[in-house]
């Protein structure tokens, strides 16, 4: 039988550590993003990502959350997406496509290196994963054609009803 108090301790300290690890990245990340946004640097970045977001059927505003998720991981990507959605910059279609892409492909550096450490070829792994996520998201965006980006304002309204957490 398992030692309940030892398991509880493991879960308690483990979860605190993982929240602390998130805070260590999220706090500076959000400050940098806010500064970049206020000084209009994010616009340049979105323009740079435009060919990619266009191809995937997403609005321009999805470019930045996409990059954050790819580089830092799903939780951080989701954090940025939630903030953008609150500001009403993302449509329902964006949210679906971003979720599909980032769920299958995120934290590409960390996740790839984990497997390189046990002897897998990182380049094959990374390119297969990226390519598959791109194809899957592209196909999904074709199926979601009926969804336009016009519902962004409605989504914002829905979000505003919820208390800010």
């Amino acid at each position: 039988m398992m030692d309940l108090s030892a398991v509880f301790q493991e879960a308690f300290f483990g979860s605190l550590t993982s929240v602390w690890n998130i805070a260590k990245v999220v706090m500076p990340l959000m400050i940098v993003i806010q500064v970049a946004k206020d000084y209009r640097l994010l616009d340049y970045l979105s323009r740079f990502m435009k060919p990619a977001t266009n191809f995937l059927g997403m609005s321009r505003e999805s470019g930045f959350p996409l990059m954050v998720g790819l580089a830092f991981g799903l939780s951080f990507g989701a954090g940025v997406i939630v903030q953008s959605a609150k500001e009403g910059n993302l449509s329902k279609k964006d949210l679906i496509l971003l979720s599909a892409f980032l769920a299958s492909c995120h934290a590409v550096v960390e996740d790839t290196l984990i497997f390189v450490a046990v002897g897998a070829n990182g380049w094959i792994l990374l390119s297969a994963r990226l390519l598959t996520a791109i194809v899957a998201t592209f196909l999904l965006s074709k199926r979601l054609k009926h969804l336009t980006h016009d519902d962004a304002t409605q989504l914002q309204r829905e979000n505003l009803k919820q208390p800010v957490s």
Binding site: V7, S15, I114, L125, T132, A136
Partner: protein, 143 residues
């Protein structure tokens, strides 16, 4: 203006940390308790016969089950405990890169107002496809 931006960024950072923490802590507890139950072994034993589809030995099931239910680090631990060829490791790595840590990551994705079930279905489909395609390639042409 800079101070204002930093203040607002800090507030959003706290908000986001709190939002993610609220989701991750309970799921982390659940997953930790799960890892100490025999459930993982049972599921792995059920999945063993399926491994042939991916040209993997039956023992590889525990790696895929741990990776999907717990996290990638647990899967890596299991990879090291089982002797596998390098092409088998690549097949497992490809499969797990699409689908891993499903409890924690699905809880996070659900914050984006999408169906968790659909996201899991997509990831598992990609995992199985990757296993079928690369398992066949590695076992046949490239192996």
């Amino acid at each position: 203006m800079l101070i204002q931006s930093i203040k607002q960024g800090t507030r959003k950072g706290l908000e986001t940390t709190f939002l993610l923490g609220k989701i991750i802590v309970p799921v982390y507890f659940f997953v930790t308790f799960l890892s100490h139950t025999p459930a993982i072994d049972w599921i792995a034993r059920l999945a063993e016969p399926l491994m042939r589809l991916f040209n993997l030995p039956g023992e590889a099931a525990i790696i895929l089950v741990m990776g999907n239910l717990l996290n990638l680090y647990a899967a890596i631990g299991a990879i090291q405990a089982i002797s596998l060829t390098s092409s088998e490791i690549l097949v497992i790595a490809l499969m797990l890169s699409f689908s891993h840590a499903l409890f924690v990551e699905t809880a996070v994705v659900k914050q984006l107002q999408v169906s968790g079930l659909k996201v899991v279905a997509l990831r598992l489909t990609l995992m199985v496809l990757a296993g079928l395609i690369y398992g066949t390639l590695m076992g046949g042409v490239l192996g």
